[in-house]
């Protein structure tokens, strides 16, 4: 392992390092030892990360009896796909998945439209109350969602929106606004004013300037925050659990709720194989999406923290 990574080039290339040639062997040995240890550490963490996921996929092809035999990483004796049929038809993973997709598409779209409109006006227009509205949005970042849970439930109940996607989507949008506005307002502020002024001279309306000039210029920021919102809303568990409840909502559960529910009912009968198939079905699309967009996803999710 260490042989692979030690680069002989150091002696040939004339560099400032040549000055320290005297200590080279010692330094090199230290580096080789460290590189070896680095690989061991990294491989261990990679196993710890991927291990449980690989185990879930393997177990999803096993019969329940085989799961109870132990040997978690042995290949299944008979590859059984019946568990997948069960997970799809009886446990309704497919439906939960589609529900989540619909809700997240609509709520992210709504968040981006409303969030960028508000952020744009707050970032680039001076008017009475601007700062107040801006800080009203940003202060939302300081409150734990848990605090609002009870009141939110009764607000939705009063409006007859409990157990509906309309209610859930509106709530997703409202709770995503603070960060979206905060992030995009900072972004819109950095865009140059000259182009906008030129457009004004040419007689473009405010609305037109926003859609045809500012939005395209803000694309990189919009992409980051869109990914951030998609992932955040896709992973929501608390809000759907509180909002999609009551009679007649069995078919409306989102994926996170659905998986948790399947897990509970699997626990009653200790019938794990269907649960593993359901888990695999819900992880697999994420792996595919991630494989395609991993650069954008990493950038989008960390953009918020780097500012």
């Amino acid at each position: 392992m260490t042989n692979l990574t030690s680069v002989p080039g150091a002696d040939v290339v004339p560099t400032p390092a040549a000055k320290s040639a005297g200590r080279k062997p010692a330094v090199k040995r230290e580096v080789n030892a460290l590189t070896g240890m680095a690989h061991i550490g990294l491989i261990l963490w990679a196993i710890a990360t991927a291990g449980p996921l690989i185990w879930v996929v393997l177990a999803s092809f096993k019969s329940n009896t085989e799961i109870f035999l132990g040997k978690p990483f042995a290949l299944p004796e008979h590859w059984s796909f019946k568990t997948y049929a069960d997970a799809w038809t009886e446990a309704h993973v497919g439906r939960y998945f589609v529900n989540s997709v619909i809700v997240v598409i609509l709520s992210t779209a709504g968040t981006m439209v409303l969030g960028s409109m508000a952020a744009y006006v707050l970032a680039r227009y001076r008017f009475w109350g601007n700062r107040f509205i801006y800080y009203l949005f940003v202060s939302g970042l300081a409150f734990p969602t848990f605090m609002a849970l009870g009141p939110l439930f009764y607000i939705l109940k009063g409006m007859g929106l409990l157990g509906t996607y309309t209610g859930l989507i509106l709530v997703y949008i409202a709770y995503s606004l603070p960060f979206t506005v905060f992030f995009l307002a900072a972004f819109f502020k950095t865009l140059p004013y000259e182009i906008e002024e030129a457009a004004t001279v040419d007689g473009a309306s405010h609305t037109r300037k926003f859609f045809q000039i500012m939005m395209p210029m803000a694309r990189s920021g919009l992409v980051s925050i869109t990914i951030f919102n998609i992932v955040g809303q896709w992973n929501q568990y608390l809000l759907p659990l509180a909002i999609i409840t009551g009679p007649g909502t069995d078919n409306k559960l989102l994926l996170t709720q659905g998986i948790a529910k399947i897990s509970v009912s699997a626990g009653y009968h200790a019938e794990w194989s269907t649960l593993f198939a359901a888990l695999t079905l819900s992880i697999l699309p994420m792996i595919i999406v991630y494989a395609i967009f991993q650069r954008q996803i990493q950038a989008g999710l960390t953009a918020g923290a780097v500012k």
Binding site: T35, Y154, P178, L279
Partner: protein, 301 residues
């Protein structure tokens, strides 16, 4: 040119502000209001002053839950930041040096892709997976890996270790995100600084403590605050993974779970709101303290 400015501003702001005020601002304000009432969720709202807070003070479960939150608050950031920093350092600077230039280990891209993936899984789904990983019989992953002669470990069903299991799951999910975050930070440290330090004969370990950590301090602070806020939540993991939801015997109860159960299961919305208010002030104090205590002279490269 001024023409149409105010209709435009109002047109763009009215929907977002209305939505935000209805579902967020109103809900938070009501939470403060309800914390002074004995409201059950139905019927009349009666004000009872500070009685909820008084009751909270004498509630053993509250103190137990708070202790568990503090356990997470201390250990989750410490372990996650430490592991993520070491991994990010190895990925970026752990490789061999070419011409005095430090570089990442081979395959660092592949590692980064694997490490980051858990971030894409909902915490709820991670909790379901790990409930099985920690399964208390041979069907659990860990017990399945142990030698056949061992008695099965109870993990989540063991009062002494249940909270540690919760902590491990939160760390497992969080590390990858901070590896990527710290990697981005390390990437922006100019290579000349490492080169200069290496020329002076600094070892990798010295580089890590004397160069990397001081230059990343701002990012580490942010990570600390984020992880602390996550430690005050932990609802999904506890609600799904723990035995008897918060058990065994209250061993994994946390404040967020108490709020949930008081709101939706015990019809004590007033009491739940009081816990929410306490949680709010705890979070705020924590964030302010972290930023204050960890303040350093900023080292701009």
């Amino acid at each position: 040119m001024r023409h149409g400015k105010y209709p435009f501003i109002i047109g763009f702001l009215v929907v977002p502000v209305a939505l935000y005020c209805t579902f967020v601002v109103a809900a938070y304000l009501q939470a403060f209001q309800l914390s002074f009432t004995g409201w059950s969720g139905f019927g009349r709202i009666t004000y009872i002053g500070f009685e909820n807070f008084h009751k909270l003070w004498n509630d053993d479960l509250f103190w137990q839950s708070l202790r568990h939150n503090l356990f997470l608050l201390i250990l989750l950031p410490v372990v996650t930041v430490a592991v993520a920093l070491v991994i990010a350092f190895l990925l970026n600077v752990g490789g061999s040096s070419r011409g005095g230039q430090t570089r990442g280990v081979r395959g660092s891209k592949a590692y980064r892709i694997i490490f980051f993936f858990p971030q894409l899984l909902a915490l709820a789904i991670v909790a379901v997976i790990f409930q099985r990983v920690f399964g208390p019989d041979k069907s659990g992953m860990l017990n399945g890996l142990f030698p056949a002669s061992w008695n099965p470990w109870l993990f989540l069903a063991d009062e002494r270790w249940a909270m540690t299991c919760i902590l491990i799951v939160l760390i497992w999910q969080a590390v990858g995100f901070y590896v990527v975050l710290f990697s981005a930070g390390m990437g922006s440290i100019p290579a000349e600084i490492y080169e200069a330090a290496a020329l002076d004969g600094a070892s990798r370990i010295t580089l890590f403590f004397r160069v990397t950590i001081p230059l990343l301090w701002g990012t580490i602070q942010v990570a600390w605050v984020y992880l602390g806020i996550a430690a005050f939540d932990a609802f999904a993991v506890v609600n799904i993974m723990s035995v008897d939801r918060g058990g065994p015997n209250g061993a994994t109860s946390v404040l967020s779970l108490m709020i949930w159960r008081n709101t939706f299961e015990f019809s004590q919305v007033g009491y739940a709101s009081a816990i929410g208010v306490v949680l709010f002030f705890l979070t705020l104090t924590f964030a302010a303290l972290t930023l204050r205590v960890t303040r350093r002279e900023s080292l701009e490269a």
